[in-house]
Symmetry: C2
Subunit: 248 residues, 2 copies
């Protein structure tokens, strides 16, 4: 207990730039919170909640960085993030764009001492953070608790793998159509939205060059399938876009 309190104190005082907006919270909607209260003994639950911090990240901020020693466990409460990894050739590859409840961050907390992926905020993002050691201790010691994580991590990894398979069986036009539809249908739930990614990031997401991403986007525009101006996108002909995504 005192050891963990110490941990918590240390966490507060080693705050770097990113943690400057942190404060304690007891929000009810946080998913971790729900698992916690459902499965944990009240004392431990309380301990977890006390150590929980809500941290605000601005667009572009790095939440955790590949290769760094894991020091915090985090859950995305609001916002949008990208999860990426360096390739052999030191290029960035985005493996997932994720929202709250996607729990994609789980992919990087187990099996290694260091973060496997870099997580970056694509929009202003609110994250609940927990001291890493404490979280591990709780997971290790509490019945049923880690089973929830097993489900979530499986689901998250299957989505990433699925996405790779889907992308790799499509040509460039198909891939672009696919991710535009993804933003439209799954993330923003509207046919008009602002792309949270630069052209370069789109390229990193679908594994193509920037030039060709731009080229195809221009083609889509010329063909009246989408309207695109800078980052703002309007889908004009969704049927056609779906066709391209499916057969391209």
């Amino acid at each position: 207990m005192s050891e963990k309190f110490l941990l918590y104190i240390m966490n507060t005082f080693t705050t770097n730039l990113q943690d400057k907006h942190s404060l304690r919270c007891n929000c009810e909607d946080c998913f971790i919170n729900q698992i916690v209260s459902k499965h944990l003994a009240p004392i431990i639950c309380d301990q977890l909640l006390k150590s929980k911090m809500e941290v605000k990240y601005s667009q572009g901020d790095t939440l955790v960085e590949e290769g760094e020693k894991i020091n915090k466990f985090l859950y995305i409460k609001e916002g949008l993030i990208k999860v990426s990894q360096l390739t052999d050739k030191k290029e960035n590859r985005i493996i997932s764009i994720a929202r709250p409840h996607d729990n994609i961050t789980l992919l990087t907390f187990f099996s290694s001492e260091k973060y496997l992926y870099t997580i970056t905020a694509l929009e202003d993002t609110l994250a609940c953070t927990f001291p890493y050691r404490l979280m591990l201790d709780v997971i290790k010691s509490e019945k049923e608790f880690s089973y929830g994580f097993l489900n979530m991590i499986s689901y998250a990894s299957s989505k990433v793998i699925n996405n790779f398979i889907k992308l790799s069986s499509r040509n460039l036009r198909g891939r672009l159509a696919y991710i535009i539809l993804n933003f439209s249908d799954n993330i923003y739930k509207t046919d008009s939205f602002d792309l949270p990614l630069s052209r370069k990031e789109i390229a990193e997401l679908i594994g193509m060059t920037v030039e060709n991403v731009i080229r195809i986007l221009s083609e889509f525009k010329k063909d009246g399938i989408i309207n695109i101006d800078g980052k703002s996108i309007d889908i004009l002909d969704k049927k056609k876009l779906q066709m391209i995504s499916e057969f391209g």
Copy 2:
């Protein structure tokens, strides 16, 4: 040694189609067995061990099939398997070639009622199987037990994701060199081995067409980098192969 022979003999005398080679066993080297005895209460441990069956699969046999309801939990004890999934376009995509201790099978037991992937034996393979519901119950109810799974599943999924990234940043020659080296360095630990995959399966593994796989393999042969005759491969110029894998 004689135990394994006995096992083999007894295999001949059992009942239903897929399980016709099964029998109870108490092998010490099985990894599940080790976790079990380390973390589980003796009673439950005993229950698990009683329900455990050792099943022998022949080359080409399907261990579990994508889309089927999950009814058994399995651990690969000996042999070599492939894990694959159908793409949108109903083509096979191999997401991993795995040996014992890779625990890749874990990727398909959580987060869904149905198997996410098809698992096929590439060599004669020995698997320990457990009734699925029982295994879930144990995982849910026992401290520390599922934490081991968390680590393993994370590790397995990161390897698959890593592999996709590595492949997607290479051209065809690079991909082929990469997987040949993989078989040589990580699986068979020798420069002369028999490929456990058909040309078509290699294509499914690296996301290319059969024709081009064959073409590049022939090129490698013509250039004196490898010798290949049917499925048997000799690596003649490993340095060169590594160069191609790295820069291609």
